[in-house]
Structure formats: C-alpha cells, structure tokens
C-alpha cells in the first residue's frame, strides 16, 4: 500500500481530531482564528448590507483572510474526492441505516452508489427540486445562517475554538446545538421525511 492509498482510507476519528486542532493552531498563529460562520456575515457586508443594517457596517476587508480560508476548503473538498477517494462509502452504524431505511433514505453500500456524504433522496440533482427537499435545504440553510450569527458562532467557533478557550458561553451554545439537533433529528425530520 503506497502513501496515497494509505491516506485515501477513511480517517480514524482521533487523526481527524488532531488535524482539526492543528488547523486551529495554524489559524491562530497566522493572526486569524477558527470560525467558519462569520464568513456569512462578511458576504452580506460585501453585498452592501451595511448600507441598510449597522450589523453589516464593519471593515469587511479585515475578514478577507477567512473567506480565502473557507473558499480554499472547496478546493480541499475537490482534492479529497478526486485524488484521495475512499475505497468504500461512509460506514455508519447498522442501527442508523435501519432507521433511515424506515424513513425512506437509503445508505450507499458500495462506492458506485455514492460516497455516503449526502443522501441522494434529498441532494441529488434529479431529486432536490421537489417541494419537500427544497423546504429541507432552504429552511435548514436559513436556520443555520440565522442561528449561528444569533449564537455568535457554529461548530468551529463555539464547539472547537470556544470550548478550547474554556468559554462558558460556548458551552451554553453547544448545549443549544444539541437541543435543536436532537429535536430536529428525533421529532421534526422523521415527520418531514415520511410526509
């Protein structure tokens, strides 16, 4: 097995955790910080939202570094699936697969059926334009954008950066992430998927 084959396998969670903390260190050392969601605010500011609402009236040029970071992640995603593709789809637990089957979402079993990153029933080009899927994508996206800015951060800003810096507000935010995530996963999403 050569090096490329070796790193093309799915990474163990511990390796991934080490890599994420390393990225946080690089960003701090470069003078920035690890927080993806503030880019959404910067994009609003670049679009001229600062003329209407003071929340977006800030020196967005000082945040260009973060946009460079997040747009480069697109390149990273492309490299990962093009040059380092996993030989098998994401191996999630049988219990989750069985549950998803019961609400009409199939889990790819071979790499020909998909990477196992997004469910084709919702995200595939031929499916996503249904009313139900557009509701999931547009509604969910809106909640992510609204909620992250209201809370002042997302998984990277609060769960990783904030908790690493022992911030109590970040702990409260992460508890909120789970209140919302559990309610959606156990109550609302199954109802939408089986509607």
């Amino acid at each position: 097995m050569n090096f490329i084959e070796f790193i093309s396998q799915p990474w163990h969670w511990s390796i991934s955790g080490v890599a994420i903390s390393l990225i946080m260190f690089i960003l701090l050392w470069f003078g920035g910080g690890f927080g993806a969601s503030s880019n959404l605010r910067t994009l609003c500011a670049i679009g001229g939202a600062g003329h209407k609402h003071s929340f977006f009236d800030f020196d967005w040029k000082s945040q260009i570094w973060n946009l460079v970071f997040i747009f480069s992640a697109i390149i990273g995603g492309f490299i990962a699936v093009t040059y380092l593709p996993s030989p098998e789809p994401v191996q999630i637990s049988q219990a989750t697969q069985d549950y998803l089957q019961s609400v009409g979402v199939s889990t790819p079993q071979t790499i020909d059926q998909g990477f196992g990153f997004v469910p084709s029933e919702i995200y595939a080009m031929e499916n996503f334009l249904s009313a139900k899927n557009l509701f999931l994508l547009l509604g969910g996206g809106f909640l992510v954008g609204f909620g992250t800015r209201y809370a002042g951060g997302c998984t990277s800003g609060h769960a990783i950066s904030g908790l690493s810096n022992l911030q109590i507000p970040s702990l409260i935010a992460v508890i909120g992430f789970f209140i919302g995530g559990l309610f959606m996963t156990w109550i609302i999403l199954p109802a939408i998927l089986t509607f």
């Binding site: 890599a19 690089i26 609003c44 996206g141 809106f142 992510v144």
Partner: protein, 137 residues
Amino acid sequence: MKSLKYILPGILFGIVMTKSEAVSWFRIQEMFRFESFHMYGIIGTAVVLGALMVFIMKKINVKNVDGSEIKFASKDAGYKRYLIGGTIFGLGWAMTGACPGPMFTIVGHGVWSILFVILSAILGTYTYGAIRSKLPH
C-alpha cells in the same frame, strides 16, 4: 496579499472535513441518534488537544507570525443568545446535515444543490442582522 497564506490551511481543512467524514449527512444523523462514537471522538479529540494548546500558548506567550499577541476570542457574557441562537442553529444543522464549514467543502464534491443551502444561510444571517435589535441577547 497577506491573506494568501490561508489557502493551504483552507485546502487542508476541506480535505480533513472530507476524510474525517464530518461532512457526511449520515454521520450527523448517527451522532444525534447516539448510535456511533465517531463524531464525538473527532470533536472531543479536537477540544482536548485544542484546550491544551491554548493553555500552553497563553502560558509561554506564543506570538503570531507578525510578532503580535494572539487573539483568543472571548465571548460576551450572557446566556439567552447562546441558548436560543444555538438551538436554532442545531435545528438547521440536523435538517441539512451540514454546518458552515462542511457546507463549503461539499461544493468541492460537486453537490450543486448545497449552493441553495449556502444562499439560504446567507439570507438567514442577513435576516438576523436586520432584526437583531428586537431579539433577546
């Protein structure tokens, strides 16, 4: 030009998000159903190591590349905005299976429908900015 050095860590982030499978909608479902340790392992490892790193960096007073103090963002006191905002984000996270970092990473996978999620997320942030003075913080 000073921003260009963020290209490599950004590329690394996209690769890590993909290879760790943190971009996976299925992994997020599995996490919120408590049916695997995978996501908890990733976040837990990153937080424990991150906390150790931040502690040491403060202790020995590590400077950034420009030689100035490193900015460790401290969050404003309070709980309402974190609890309510966090809950709203959690709803969206489980609904789309994507948080803001993975959202962009998935564009690189050629999943074009995620662009609708990103556009809607920008609209959500805009809406927050427009009505924030009326919200409890």
